[in-house]
């Protein structure tokens, strides 16, 4: 009994302390707001927002509610984070491996890249890409096409718009391809365990993924129209490309800056992971006759990943949070749209800031959970 009490009392005290702190802040905020005649409530979320946003993944204009504006900002934040995470992972892995290259030039280029980009403040890099690099792009009317049908201009990157008919059939065909790939993979595993035969699983998977959707297109079940960007004149000297999709330069600059910056940290995680595997592992694998490719895939990577994943998760979280610097270059992310414009128009600082904080917290937790799940999956399983 005495022992249990001893355990509980400190916990109770901590709980009381936390509650007291929260209570103090709540009461303090309430008193101050009462004194200044500010009321508190989340009812404004349903009101018409009456401001427009430059770039949105869902249908939105000023006649929608503040809640919808919040969703627009959130989706834009997620978009830039996902793009950033994908690109920083690709660049990071390449650079991390390159830093261990036996080639002097490659090794040192990679090292210089890492040292340069991780030691310059991120906000400065964002400004550089937005105000210096992308500003040097030509005006729409002077732009030469890139890849034939896309145009990279100072007003944005114009790409063709794809108009699908019966898109759901295409979607099902892709789903079918993925399911058959899983089945084939299991079969190949069984085949190898029982008879020692190996199937070219990768080749089969890729061709399935290409052939099945392609078939739906060829047979005419799914139709695809491409709307190419067309130059349109707005005034004597001002042009844009209409009809296509315009990727705003703000998004390009932000993704570039975020992924180049975070990639340096990912590269260091990758390098640490690979260097953390003892040389003996590689030599032992070679001595049982595995090819260099198999050594990397079956021996080095599974072990290296265990070292790489946890610190890389932190980098993904940093990238997501750093994406809030978007406000500086007019990319309409959560901070600019919701904690910026919406906050100003409604004046509801406490409500909006609390929602924004909770949102970033949830985003970060979601990424952590996903990465922890992946980490657990690749961890050593005691049999």
């Amino acid at each position: 009994m005495n022992h249990r009490l001893k355990n509980i009392i400190p916990q109770l005290l901590t709980l009381l302390f936390v509650l007291a702190v929260i209570g103090f802040f709540t009461i303090n905020a309430q008193l101050n707001m009462d004194e200044r005649g500010i009321d508190f409530g989340y009812g404004f979320l349903g009101q018409e927002s009456s401001f427009d946003v430059q770039f949105s993944l869902i249908e939105y204009d000023g006649s929608h509610s503040y809640a919808r504006a919040y969703l627009v900002g959130l989706l834009n934040t997620i978009l830039v984070s996902v793009l950033g995470i994908i690109f920083c992972t690709i660049i990071g892995v390449i650079v991390g491996v390159a830093r261990l290259s036996p080639n002097y030039l490659i090794r040192n280029t990679a090292a210089w890249y890492v040292e340069f980009f991780r030691n310059v403040p991120l906000l400065l890099q964002i400004f550089f890409w937005y105000y210096a690099a992308l500003r040097a792009l030509p005006l729409p009317e002077n732009t030469e096409p890139l890849f034939g049908v896309t145009y990279l201009t100072v007003k944005g990157y114009y790409i063709p718009r794809l108009i699908w008919e019966n898109f759901d059939i295409l979607f099902y065909s892709i789903l079918a391809a993925i399911i058959s790939i899983v089945i084939i993979k299991n079969y190949a595993k069984k085949l190898q365990e029982e008879k020692g035969q190996q199937l070219p699983v990768f080749l089969i998977s890729v061709s399935l993924l290409v052939i099945l959707p392609a078939l739906t297109l060829i047979t005419g079940m799914v139709q695809l129209e491409v709307a190419l960007p067309v130059l349109k004149q707005l005034s004597k000297t001002s042009f844009i490309y209409a009809d296509g999709i315009s990727v705003p330069p703000e998004l390009l600059a932000l993704v570039l800056a975020l992924s180049l910056y975070t990639a340096t940290f990912v590269a260091e995680c990758v390098r640490a992971g690979i260097q953390g595997i003892s040389k003996g592992q590689k030599e032992a694998a070679a001595s049982v006759g595995l090819t260099p490719n198999q050594i990397l895939k079956l021996v080095i990577m599974p072990q290296a990943l265990r070292i790489i994943i946890p610190p890389t998760t932190n980098q993904y979280l940093n990238l997501t949070k750093n994406s809030s610097l978007a406000a500086a270059i007019a990319y309409p992310d959560l901070v600019l749209v919701f904690a910026g414009t919406a906050l100003m128009q409604t004046g509801r600082a406490i409500e909006i800031v609390s929602i924004t904080m909770l949102t970033y917290l949830s985003l970060s937790l979601a990424i952590s959970i996903l990465m922890n799940w992946y980490n657990k999956r690749i961890a050593i399983k005691e049999k």
Binding site: Q54, V154, T237, L336, G340
Partner: protein, 346 residues
């Protein structure tokens, strides 16, 4: 004996209560903000991060502008020295939070007076020191001379957190024009983006356009279109809940405007004490007890006029002589064809 004691206690308590009510009522008349300001020795004033003519700091950190002059007037009235102001440069987004949270006591930052701002978020607008309206700036080379030439697909740069964003939507919607709003947090970022060709037009209050135009790399290559799409009465703001402080700021502004009306300038203010006109005598503190109502001395308005000048002087010094808006337009006295009309100081 015991009874007497009880009575005595009752009597004393009621006296104590009465006295405390009395002093309480007296204290309430004195402004909390004024007391704090006088204790600190300076007025905490929120201004813009750099808008020539309104609030702009030079290389050595001296602030000038009509918005700045209002802060100086409040300092002259309450502290006796127009130099005792601490300026807080704020973005459009930060300004109201800075005021409601008590970081500043006056917000004089080309802020539009609207119903929702006045009623909703713990602010009180005390008056108008500049009548403005939203307009558009375009490149001369575009050949556009009127907003009727705008076409769908146009991109418009502006600031976030301003009435501009809302007016712009109303304007383009009513014309059925699809537009791309590019909204930045700081005015300097808007100027840089517009200058680089990111946007076809830059929209904000016309005075702002005229002022920001001077910051462009080639100001003469740009014009402000004639149309005005909104009413933007700009004025100083205080926190809700301190009505005496509110009155001090309101009448600091009114005194400047009324001084111009009666021809009192920083140069002739002292000699006006011997004027025949009682309205003038009241303004320079030679008659009446105007300051007492705020808990100020009687020379408060004289100090404003002597140290800061009247509204016309402030306008000329900051907006006309700098070439931003030489024509006073609506910001002229009602007696001279404008709409500046303030209640009498009496």
């Amino acid at each position: 004996m015991r009874r007497t004691l009880k009575h005595l206690v009752y009597l004393l308590t009621s006296i104590a209560l009465l006295v405390s009510f009395e002093t309480g009522a007296f204290a309430a008349k004195k402004s909390k903000t004024l007391k704090k300001t006088q204790k600190m020795g300076f007025v905490r004033c929120g201004v813009s991060q750099g808008l020539p003519g309104f609030s702009n700091a030079d290389a050595s950190g001296n602030w000038t502008g009509v918005d700045v002059d209002l802060c100086r007037a409040v300092a002259a009235a309450t502290l006796g020295d127009s130099g005792k102001v601490k300026f807080y440069p704020l973005s459009a987004k930060e300004r109201f939070t800075a005021l409601t949270s008590g970081e500043i006591d006056v917000l004089s930052r080309n802020t539009t007076w609207t119903l929702s701002r006045d009623a909703d978020i713990g602010l009180t607008f005390v008056g108008v020191n500049f009548y403005d309206g939203q307009g558009f700036m375009v490149r001369k080379s575009s050949g556009i001379t009127s907003t009727s030439q705008f076409k769908s697909g146009i991109s418009a740069c502006t600031n976030i957190g301003t009435t501009t964003e809302l007016n712009m939507r109303d304007f383009f919607n009513s014309k059925g024009i699809k537009y791309e709003p590019v909204a930045f947090e700081k005015a300097d970022e808007v100027v840089a983006a517009y200058d680089a060709g990111r946007c076809d037009t830059y929209t904000t209050d016309k005075s702002g356009l005229a002022a920001q135009r001077t910051k462009l790399s080639k100001p003469d290559d740009h014009i402000v279109l004639p149309e005005t799409i909104s009413k933007e009465p700009l004025g100083p703001v205080v926190r809700q809940g301190d009505s005496v402080w509110e009155d001090i700021v309101r009448w600091s502004l009114n005194v400047m405007i009324e001084a111009e009306e009666y021809g009192i300038t920083s140069a002739n203010a002292d000699s006006m004490k011997s004027s025949e006109n009682p309205a003038i005598k009241r303004l320079v503190g030679a008659e009446g007890e105007l300051g007492a109502a705020f808990g100020l001395d009687n020379d408060w308005s004289l100090r404003i006029i002597k140290q800061v000048g009247n509204y016309g002087e402030s306008y000329k010094r900051n907006i006309a002589d700098t070439g931003i808006l030489p024509d006073r337009g609506p910001n002229q006295l009602w007696t001279k064809g404008g709409i500046l009309y303030v209640p009498p100081a009496r």
